[in-house]
Subunit: 323 residues, 2 copies
Amino acid sequence: MPITVVGSIAYDTVKTPFGERERMLGGAAVHFALAASFFDEVRVVGPVGEDFRNEELEVLNRRGIDVSDIEHVAGGRTFFWHGEYGWDLNTRETHDTQLGVFEGFAPKLSDRSRSSDVLFLANIQPDLQRDVRAQLPHARFAALDSMNLWIEIARDSLVAAISSVDCVILNDAELRELTGKPNLVAAAREILTWAPGANGPGEPAGGPRVVVAKQGEYGAALITPESFFALPAYPLETVIDPTGAGDSFAGGLVGYIAAHPHEQLGESLLRRAMAHATVLASFNVEEFGTDRVARLRGAEIVARIRELHSMTQFSGAPLKLRG
Amino acid sequence: MPITVVGSIAYDTVKTPFGERERMLGGAAVHFALAASFFDEVRVVGPVGEDFRNEELEVLNRRGIDVSDIEHVAGGRTFFWHGEYGWDLNTRETHDTQLGVFEGFAPKLSDRSRSSDVLFLANIQPDLQRDVRAQLPHARFAALDSMNLWIEIARDSLVAAISSVDCVILNDAELRELTGKPNLVAAAREILTWAPGANGPGEPAGGPRVVVAKQGEYGAALITPESFFALPAYPLETVIDPTGAGDSFAGGLVGYIAAHPHEQLGESLLRRAMAHATVLASFNVEEFGTDRVARLRGAEIVARIRELHSMTQFSGAPLKLRG
């Protein structure tokens, strides 16, 4: 099923312990789209400025991504982020954020983007997420990412946006902050009770059915009303640049679900989607920016899925215990 | 195979967001022994003071633990720790530590404790760990825990202690601090190259073959020279008191290995041991101090192992990927 993603298309200047790069192609919608493009058709919605180069569009084109709803704003500047990671890559400092064309951005979706069966609302202002969600009322699967900023300054709108999707993908610290519950399982279970307020009598309650907690280097957990599942991150001896890992993760997850239109959104599908998400994120962080995923091959994904599977299995006959 | 553990036997005063308890039975050797007692015979070596009550010994006796090498120091005071956990239980502050009988402690092992096939060196001064290791030169499996304090003030002795055991069980932050490597896999792989200095020609290099990285609420990872394995923590909606979780984990791990004397220390055994470690730790944190594990039943462990297994499995046919 085709996927529409709305979110940032950016230039990133990034410093990590392994080097520094200036004005690389980045942004949540870009990282998501590259990852999801291995699974299904992806349509990107978002604004860029006059400084945006054709060679960046080519990176998306080469992966077969539909860029016709990327809005080129005359006289505008592309969203810019400048950040630096600490020695263990677990902390990062933002030196500069320039919204550029994102100031005053109003998503305009073509009929084609509105016809997608799957929707991903990358991390943007939650009012915009709700606006886009309303333009795809019949999408069969919608997922959302966000960040601490919106929890702090636009919580009500974010809660409404969350209540309108099937799946929430957040960092575990964000899940805690959003719910005020320090326990991850309790926080996720609370979000799973959120439902849109305006249901008519007899209508299903709606609201999210799946919460995914991203845990950085520790992996990710999947929580539904009935179940819990967790995977470690794919272990890497060298991580070069974590920027976009969460968006690549989301691209693997949502892309895998989109590629299975005839399978129920049950535990088996969700778990395989989590594995593909984990693997896409692992490739993303191996090099700066989009470098690694842009030249990734399907066979590499399959091989790493197999490895991840072998790293998470245990079995054996139960033991006679003393007591 | 019988297990000897050397480490602290303590009184703990603990405050968590869920309450406060004064002078509970605690200490690394105690939490380890209770967990390991489900798998094999455990012999505890460590000092207590005149203030140590018979009812605490009874907690160990009821689990069939051999307490005859617990040294009662006339005129001494039992090791005491007073700590407080933050709202999400991930941070803790030590208000008071009184070494008491641990000052000047010299481990005296009976022939019986020296005859064990399995040895666990809980977190104590590394010189003491080496002293005890030297008293069980023929133990078939020896494992060790430590802490940031010893990395900072007794690193050389700790490295020597680590080089003398088969298995190192540390928090991931400690593995990073110990090796100066921010990447967990790289840190573990470095430790796996450490070997005792004094090998004669033709002698095996020795040194640790297994590194276990405890990751708190995120679970734990197992790293050997050839492999990587990780498990999430068993998910709990309510965690009451994390004190002793790492020692219960070690008790489950080492105990499970001890209970399989005829099986090679290979991937299959280690992974099942990791699962049992994870489950023992999960019970430990459900109540204050030793309360939960002291009345735990084998059948509860088996049931939770089954649940953990179902929470970590995924499978499915490979997908035809685009690219």
